[in-house]
Each structure stands twice: as structure tokens, then as C-alpha cells.
């Protein structure tokens, strides 16, 4: 018994179509993974974070305050400068930090600001601000891992000094 020619052609056409569709689905899944689950580097070592932040902020002539937003595995979601200040201070509003943390769906955060003078010693205002931000973010279950001050030399980590 021989298979009619038209049936073979139809069957081949159908098989090709399925192969093409599967390729498309695979590609779409890959794009979806890339878009939804693409993350930055894992920031577990304070030295890595310090170097990363120094590179970003050391050249600023005025004070800026930024946040690294992280997921539960401490992989970087984003780094944003949220406030720009003058030569010796920047007004930092906790509501804006909370707002951006929610926008990034962050589970943890690392703060950073620079001291254009080069001195990395934290001021009383820096320490009060850190405590306030930590309190505000705790309400939305975002953990504050550290607060770095960038200046001359290695950035100062408030966590390493037990000031967090």
C-alpha cells in the first residue's frame, strides 16, 4: 500500500511547522529569562562593593547619595543615585528610598554617599540618617547591608565599624 503524495507533503509541512514553532518558543523563553531574571554581579565581599562604589562616586565634585538595590541572593538589581547635594551635604528623604526599593522589588540595599573633602569619617548626621533609613526599609522588609562613605583611600564601611 502506498501513501498518497499529498499526505506525505502535508505531514512534512506540519512537522516543519512544529519544529519552527518549538524554536520560537525556546527563543521566547530565553528572552523571558533574560528579561526577568537577569541580575548583576553577586556582591558578597565588602571589598568588591567598596571598589565598585569608589569607581562610581570618587570623581563627583558635590555630594551624592546612592543605593545599590539587591535581591535575596544579594545579586545587584540596580544602582541609582537618588540625591544630589552641595559640596558638604545632601538632603536624603527616606520616602524616596522606600519608593525606589519597592520599584526594584529589592530585598536588600547598600547605601553610599561621598565626601568631596576626601575625609571618610561619618558625621553624626550620617549615622542618624542610616538608622532612620534602616528603620524605614525594615517596614517593607528590605535589609540594609551596609552604608559606605567614599572619599580618599578605601571607602569606609559603617557595617565594618559596627555602626549599622
Amino acid at each position: 500500500m502506498s501513501t498518497p503524495l499529498t499526505l506525505i507533503e502535508a505531514s512534512n509541512f506540519e512537522a516543519n511547522r512544529i519544529v519552527l514553532e518549538n524554536q520560537l518558543i525556546d527563543e521566547a523563553l530565553h528572552i523571558l529569562d533574560r528579561r526577568l531574571f537577569a541580575r548583576g554581579p553577586i556582591l558578597t565581599s565588602p571589598d568588591t562593593v567598596a571598589s565598585y562604589l569608589k569607581l562610581h562616586l570618587a570623581q563627583q565634585e558635590h555630594e551624592v547619595f546612592g543605593v545599590i538595590f539587591l535581591d535575596t541572593k544579594h545579586r545587584m538589581l540596580a544602582f541609582e543615585v537618588l540625591f544630589h547635594g552641595s559640596i558638604d551635604g545632601a538632603s536624603v528623604y527616606p520616602r524616596q528610598v522606600v519608593k525606589r526599593s519597592l520599584a526594584h522589588n529589592a530585598a536588600a540595599a547598600i547605601f553610599v554617599h561621598n565626601h568631596p573633602s576626601g575625609c571618610t569619617e561619618p558625621s553624626q548626621a550620617d549615622r542618624i540618617l542610616t538608622a532612620r533609613l534602616k528603620e524605614a526599609l525594615a517596614l517593607i522588609e528590605v535589609r540594609v547591608l551596609d552604608h559606605f562613605i567614599v572619599g580618599e583611600g578605601r571607602p569606609l564601611s559603617l557595617a565594618e565599624y559596627g555602626w549599622l
Binding site: H62, V81, F83, H84, G85, S86, I87, G89, A90, S91, V92, Y93, P94, R95, A125, I128, L129, R132
Partner: protein
Amino acid sequence: MDSFWICDDCLFAAAYEDYSTLSLYYTTDEIEKRIAGIHRGLVRLMPISADFDPETGWGLKAFSPLPCDGCGSPQSGQRHRFTRL
């Protein structure tokens, strides 16, 4: 239409009546004076509407050495554009 560039303190005061950061840098007396200055400045400019987009950066100056058009503070820093309606 007139546009004005206002500082973070004026922005958060106008949008949320949020003065929480002032206590970090000012004494109690100074805070009262600062809040009064912000109020005076904003009332003088009214009616104004936000004219910036934080997503695109449109209507924002990351750093301005000029005084705030609202409170007149000489402190340089970020400015947000507001336009008189």
C-alpha cells in the same frame, strides 16, 4: 508660562509636607525658620505644578549652583522644574 527650579526640600514640602530631613542638619529653632522660609517661597510662587519627569530626567537638574527659586536657599544641589499655571 513662568518656570521655577526648586530644591529637594521645597519639593518634598510641596508634594508631601515632608520635612523629615531638616532635623539632621538644623537645630529646632533653625528648623522652624527653614520651614517658614519654604512656606513663604512656595506661597509666593503659587499656583504651580510639577513640570518634570524623574524617569526620563526631563525638567531635572542633577546639580545647580544657583539658589532655589522657592525658598531662596543658596545651597547648591538638585533642582526640579515647576511651572506657574
